[in-house]
């Protein structure tokens, strides 16, 4: 009888576990659902009745077609009000930090000038991931919580294509008009800078550790050399990896056809299938390269400069002989922001030399602001006069790195501006390389 007594609670326990696990499994799947809920947008207005019957969710009623209506009232209201608060979503390691207090000196100066508090968030680790995060709000016509964000060039093109960005009122950005460097105006992804102004830029090339490779690296072909099997890193974002592979095949990415993309995919796939790549990385390639887990990898120039200074002096950066790319991260204002006037004030602020120079002296990327290089050189000379030769040398290096050289630019090629269907097709091709 004793065992009988145990029977029913045990049964209950098993049943409870089964129910719990099924719920857990359900949550795992359901947790993915917010994005498509908000994007079930019936494109043709005529299709609306039938589509809305298929939507039991309350959010479906709030969705709006994102296409064909890029114009927002930004240019109608000349001076949007200042609210005293702005939220800036940026990439990690992309601003000056006071090592002692953990505060941001340039933002502190901005707040002192304008009385606008900045909520600075290191929100972007990967363009596509961040897009996945803000897209449901944008599709539903709600504020994303960010007033200014810093997507990369190709993502700006995608956001423009989807009608998610506000056209900029240039009369509110006088510093941009006055100080923007020629190289960074009128870019391929946003002709005329209608929706975006650059934040910082750099090169996409190869970062390598000569002690692990045992030789100097010069070309994309080196990344596919079987001698380095298992020690090579690639980017998980499609556009950089595919564009470099296209260049290695002698094709300019901007002119690439689907056949060219297929050929590039075949080349990457063959290498992936024989275990050439240790992994496909976002910004986390940095740690793998610095720690010596990777011998060579696709890399961003500014990261390697920082790595040489702080984490691993051996590591080098090279633009592949077949051709490299220049990425530009931008400041844009998404639709429906809550602090429009403050967003303009912040964007305008970064184009003053008083803000751009300390920023460059800390992070060392290409600055889109004209005159930064001269000011950094002047600061270097001042430091040398003060007897701080080490800092003077570093500043001189940073000044050199803050503007691309003619030699670098000659081997730099623009990305392809893609339609939605092309992007999907290329992503599908690349997906096979990454996910097998």
């Amino acid at each position: 009888m004793r065992t009988r007594d145990h029977q029913s609670p045990r049964q209950a326990q098993v049943l409870a576990a089964v129910v719990l696990t099924i719920v857990l499994a359900g949550c795992g799947i359901a947790a993915q659902s917010p994005s498509p809920v908000a994007t079930n947008t019936p494109a043709p207005p005529s299709a609306q009745p039938s589509a809305s019957t298929a939507q039991p969710s309350a959010t479906a009623a709030q969705t709006s077609a994102p296409t064909d209506e890029p114009t927002q009232p930004a240019s109608v209201t000349p001076t949007p009000p200042i609210t005293g608060h702005v939220t800036f979503g940026n990439w990690p390691l992309y601003i000056d930090i006071d090592e002692d207090t953990g505060k941001y000196p340039t933002l502190k100066a901005f707040t002192e000038q304008t009385s606008i508090q900045v909520d600075y968030q290191e929100a972007i680790n990967d363009n596509t991931e961040f897009f996945g995060k803000i897209q449901p709000d944008l599709a539903a016509g709600r504020p994303t919580g960010y007033d200014v964000i810093a997507p990369s060039d190709w993502m700006v093109a995608k956001l423009i294509r989807l009608g998610y960005l506000q056209p900029l009122n240039k009369s509110l950005l006088p510093n941009f008009t006055a100080n923007a460097a020629d190289l960074f105006t009128n870019p391929w992804y946003d002709p005329g800078n209608v929706y975006s102004i650059p934040w910082q830029a750099g090169l996409v090339g190869i970062g390598y550790n000569p002690t692990l490779t045992g030789r100097e690296i010069t070309s994309f072909a080196d990344l596919l050399d079987p001698a380095f099997a298992g020690d090579v890193g690639m980017f998980s974002e499609m556009i950089d990896t595919m564009s470099l592979a296209l260049l290695a095949n002698g094709v300019h990415p901007a002119d690439a056809t689907l056949e060219d993309a297929q050929a590039a995919q075949q080349m990457l796939l063959a290498a992936a299938q024989r275990g050439q790549f240790q992994g496909f990385y976002g910004n986390d390639y940095y740690d793998q390269l610095a720690a010596g887990n990777l011998a060579l990898t696709i890399a961003w120039s500014g990261d390697i400069s920082q790595m040489q200074l702080w984490d691993n002096p051996d590591v080098k950066f090279v633009v592949p002989s077949e051709g490299g790319l220049m990425f530009v991260d931008n400041m844009v204002i998404p639709n429906n922001v809550e602090h429009l006037g403050d967003a303009y004030a912040l964007m305008n602020y970064w184009y003053s030399l008083d803000a751009a120079v300390p920023l460059t002296e800390y992070i060392g990327y290409y600055s889109p602001v004209a005159g930064v290089q001269e000011r950094v050189i002047a600061d270097s000379e001042a430091a040398r006069a003060d007897g701080d030769t080490e800092w003077a040398d570093q500043l001189l290096q940073i000044a050199h790195d803050s503007v691309p050289t003619q030699e670098q630019l000659q081997n730099i090629f623009p990305y392809k501006q893609m339609t939605e269907d092309e992007e999907r097709a290329w992503n599908d091709l690349f997906d096979v390389v990454v996910n097998g």
Partner: protein, 284 residues
């Protein structure tokens, strides 16, 4: 409450949980089912076309990752069972006054975030990290050996992360077993092994069943371990779903994959219940 409305009581107790499930489980499921049958893109919008063809399409495209996920999850379930049973047995029968401390140690990893725990294994297993670096230095491993980015790393990470889910149900069912039953078995001339196989093990089967489900089901859909510790050759179905949702924005395909995964898990669990759990679930 008036006596004649007493029959309502159990339903009132069920109401909050039921509403919760309806809102956060049933509604999202219906939305996902609808999304999986739509066609379109972000720019054009998605329209319902009752495209059932997406199901065979995703099954054929992603069958390698499906099969791999199931093999990994099966291996992980077996590994956690083999590792977890002795732990649970020892705590239940030999734990004495340390029982609570030992149980606390089993769940101690939960005090750290899932991602942090997995990332720490990335550091430990790094090519020149503490473990491999040392083994290479003393010559037990050749300098080119990797553990990261191999199936071993992914399965080990999953096993580590899900072990407590196996130990706890095993402990609960082992702890309930009356030691006198084992004594009675030995009195009836069973040796220790027979007493374990005939008495302890059958009585602990509910724990084995519950633990296996708690490990297998989350493991088969996990993408964190494969993303952090794996490579393209260890891509699991969870990684595919995540990428389709967030990178490609192919919501219909991703939703369809989610349903296929759920169906596969339900079928496997049903078979398992038939083989192992049937007696326990249907008895009494």
């Amino acid at each position: 409450m008036p006596r004649r409305l007493r029959w309502l009581t159990p339903y009132l107790f069920l109401l909050p949980g039921g509403l919760w499930l309806a809102l956060f489980f049933v509604v999202p499921m219906l939305v996902m089912a609808s999304v999986s049958l739509q066609e379109g893109s972000l720019g054009r919008g998605f329209t319902m076309t009752w495209n059932f063809g997406v199901y065979p399409e995703v099954i054929s495209t992603y069958s390698p990752q499906f099969v791999r996920s199931i093999i990994y999850a099966f291996t992980v379930t077996l590994a956690t069972l083999l590792l977890g049973y002795p732990i649970a047995y020892t705590i239940a029968f030999r734990g004495g006054r340390f029982k609570n401390i030992l149980l606390l140690l089993v769940i101690a990893p939960f005090f750290t975030a899932f991602i942090i725990r997995t990332l720490s294994w990335k550091l430990i297993l790094a090519d020149n990290g503490f473990l491999l670096g040392t083994l290479k230095d003393i010559g037990l491993l050749s300098p080119g050996e990797h553990v990261l980015a191999t199936p071993l790393a992914v399965v080990s990470g999953l096993t580590y992360n899900f072990l407590p889910f196996m130990v706890l149900p095993l402990y609960v069912s082992l702890e309930k077993i009356d030691p006198h039953l084992v004594e009675a078995a030995t009195d009836l001339y069973a040796n220790r092994l027979h007493a374990f196989l005939r008495v302890t093990l059958p009585l602990s089967m509910p724990g084995v069943f519950a633990g296996s489900l708690l490990v297998f089901i989350p493991a088969v859909g996990d993408f964190i371990n494969a993303a952090i510790l794996g490579s393209r050759d260890t891509t699991m179905i969870g990684n595919v779903i995540q990428r389709l949702f967030l990178a490609t924005n192919a919501y219909p395909e991703a939703s369809a994959l989610g349903f296929v995964l759920m169906a596969a898990v339900l079928v496997l669990v049903a078979i398992y219940a038939k083989v192992v759990g049937a007696k326990e679930l249907t008895a009494g």
